[in-house]
């Protein structure tokens, strides 16, 4: 008896499940070979409130179906019946970990259509908040990644660092999570005095932690063993599945909106696009870690280059009942997860005709996740989801 016959499940795992002629997996639930298991919504190993319906054969996933909609509030509908300025409290709630990207995109949509100017300092402050949002998003993500494979220690450290960034957010904008800081024409408040020093102090502390995290987490034998070679993204999928951001960059696609489509003040900042090859979970994790370090550097650059004086917001008349001429526009920016886009259609009234949010998780979390779940060990589902950095409210809004 050959080894192949003796271990029929050994060898090339991608053959299971067999695919029927119509393209669906050949899974006969009544054969008692499979288990249906819901991974979520009430599950600690899920990113936010969503669910993955897994069909298991032994320890291996043969089919995964994403279920979203648990967080659906109908934002795009609600925005249609609020005035432009009233929508600012709404948009930031679409993506809770990084609300600033929503505010920025939405404000820029309005500015594009009305031609409102943003003063120099306002732009710098916007860049600062966006970069801080990226930093805290990555910190939270590292915590989630470590948590997903049971490494609570690093999760605690990362969240401690995130709180330091949130402190500065609180100082700058007055809010911990939701800032409503970016408005059409600029930002709401000027930068407080001494902000730079305090930020520098925090950044230094975070850098110290990052050294530890690098040693404890990214050089960790167990983490490498768990994640190298798992959850591979083929570079050929990048366009098919609309993969953006770090997930695409880890697959070798050199695409960063901050560099390729410079917005805000990114054109004046000095940074390189981080790329990697062979996008598996470890590569993606390490790429995000490198981006995090670059974000720290970028924040320093922004604070150095920011002008001391100047208006932070331009005067916009009749902001409360802002009317926008008919037209449509699309604005994109690079959040931690990739391309964050707003498509706004104005019809000449005080209310937007339609606002559509293109969250990067929309493609990562449904089509791509379903594809990647097949042939993954059940214990790797949680870290796979975290490594894609899906965030459900973006999917369903």
């Amino acid at each position: 008896m050959s080894k192949k016959e003796f271990f029929p499940m050994d060898g090339d795992r991608t053959k299971y499940p067999e695919i029927k002629s119509d393209g669906t997996a050949d899974i006969d639930l009544s054969s008692h070979k499979y288990i249906k298991l819901w991974h979520g919504p009430n599950h600690p190993g899920i990113t936010g409130n969503m669910a993955v319906e897994l069909t298991l054969c032994g320890d291996e996933v043969v089919e995964g179906i994403t279920h979203v909609g648990y967080l659906h509030r109908g934002f795009e509908k609600l925005m249609e019946r609020r005035k432009y300025i009233q929508n600012f409290p709404l948009v930031c709630r679409i993506a809770v970990p990084e609300p600033d990207y929503n505010e920025y995109n939405y404000a820029t949509c309005i500015e594009n259509l009305t031609g409102i100017d943003v003063p120099e300092k306002g732009m710098w402050l916007r860049t600062l908040t966006l970069e801080m949002a990226r930093l805290q998003g990555f910190l939270m993500w590292i915590g989630g990644m470590a948590g997903a494979i049971g490494f609570g220690t690093v999760g605690q450290w990362a969240n401690y660092c995130r709180d330091l960034v949130l402190d500065r957010f609180e100082e700058l904008t007055g809010g911990r999570i939701y800032h409503i800081y970016i408005l059409p024409g600029g930002v709401r408040n000027d930068i407080p005095e001494g902000f730079k020093d305090r930020m520098e102090k925090n950044l230094r502390e975070i850098e110290g932690f990052m050294k530890d995290i690098r040693r404890a987490f990214f050089d960790n034998y167990v983490f490498k063993k768990r994640s190298v070679g798992v959850g591979y993204i083929d570079p050929a999928w990048v366009f098919d599945y609309g993969i953006v951001g770090p997930n695409a960059r880890a697959a070798g696609f050199k695409h960063d909106i901050r560099k390729n489509y410079p917005y805000a003040k990114y054109a004046e900042l000095d940074f390189e696009i981080t790329t990697a090859k062979d996008s598996d979970i470890y590569t993606r994790a390490f790429l995000r870690f490198e981006e995090l370090l670059k974000d720290i550097d970028l924040i320093r650059q922004i604070l150095d280059k920011m002008p001391e004086k100047g208006d932070h917001i331009s005067k916009v008349s009749n902001m409360m009942n802002l009317k926008i001429p008919a037209g449509e526009t699309y604005v994109r920016s690079e959040c931690t997860r990739g391309e964050y886009g707003y498509y706004l259609v104005a019809d000449g009234s005080e209310y937007p005709r339609r606002v559509n949010v293109r969250g990067p998780s929309y493609t990562h979390g449904v089509a791509l996740l379903e594809k990647m779940l097949v042939n993954v060990n059940i214990a790797d589902v949680a870290q796979l989801m975290v490594s894609l950095h899906t965030y459900p409210p973006e999917i369903e809004r």
Partner: protein, 213 residues
């Protein structure tokens, strides 16, 4: 899960044995919840102290309030200091934090989760959206007040509430439990029909048993 899954069906075992499965009787307990009165006042007071000092939160982030759960359990705010811990399964948890707005789809899961928790159990409503709908007052998909569907012990107002507010909420809940006023499970049992009526009015495709333990 769909409604058809609850019908009786024939199942063939791997050995070729046929048997009938009636999910409603075999998988679910159909009994209504019953009020359980505390037996002894002094013992109950001691028990209440233990309950209040050992709150096990169910790890179910139902809304955006879940984002403040991590700071809550991590170095800055560290709710563990107050005996608040985190449990992944509803069986072992005794505090359900409804962290923010509930879409009807989530409400269904939350009801199931709540019913799987064991008496005594407490519910904390987090955020303005559980109180009166908050900024989603005109949303077609979120409920506007939580206390019509589940007995709520403590509300924490804010959008979103800071971790400090949550810690204050825990303290308030502890006071209520120690005073013996957090009897949500018994209230749910007493007003079971009313709660079920409200829940069914909102959840249009009710495809589960009326009570899941």
């Amino acid at each position: 899960m769909s409604l058809e899954d609850l019908n009786k069906k024939q199942i063939v075992s791997p050995d070729g044995e046929h048997f009938e499965v009636d999910p409603m009787n075999d998988y679910f307990c159909q009994d209504r919840p019953e009020e359980v009165k505390p037996v002894n006042k002094i013992v109950e007071r001691f028990y209440n102290w233990a309950r209040s000092e050992s709150l096990w939160i169910l790890g179910f982030g139902t809304g955006c309030g879940a984002i403040e759960m991590r700071p809550l359990m991590t170095p800055r705010f560290d709710a563990y200091r107050f005996g608040v811990q985190w449990r992944p399964t509803p069986r072992q948890a005794n505090l359900l934090i409804v962290s923010g707005y509930l879409s009807t789809k989530t409400l269904k899961r939350v009801i199931r989760v709540y019913e799987q928790m064991q008496n005594p159990k407490f519910v904390m409503g987090l955020g303005s959206c559980t109180i009166n709908g908050g900024m989603y007052f005109d949303s077609y998909n979120t409920i506007k007040r939580l206390d019509y569907y589940l007995p709520v012990d403590v509300y924490v107002a804010g959008c979103m509430p800071r971790p400090e507010a949550l810690l204050a909420g825990f303290e308030e809940l502890k006071k209520l439990i120690k005073a013996g006023k957090a009897e949500g499970a018994n209230e749910y049992a007493n007003k079971f029909d009313w709660y079920k009526k409200n829940q069914k009015e909102v959840i249009r495709d009710w495809d589960m048993p009326d009570y899941n333990w």
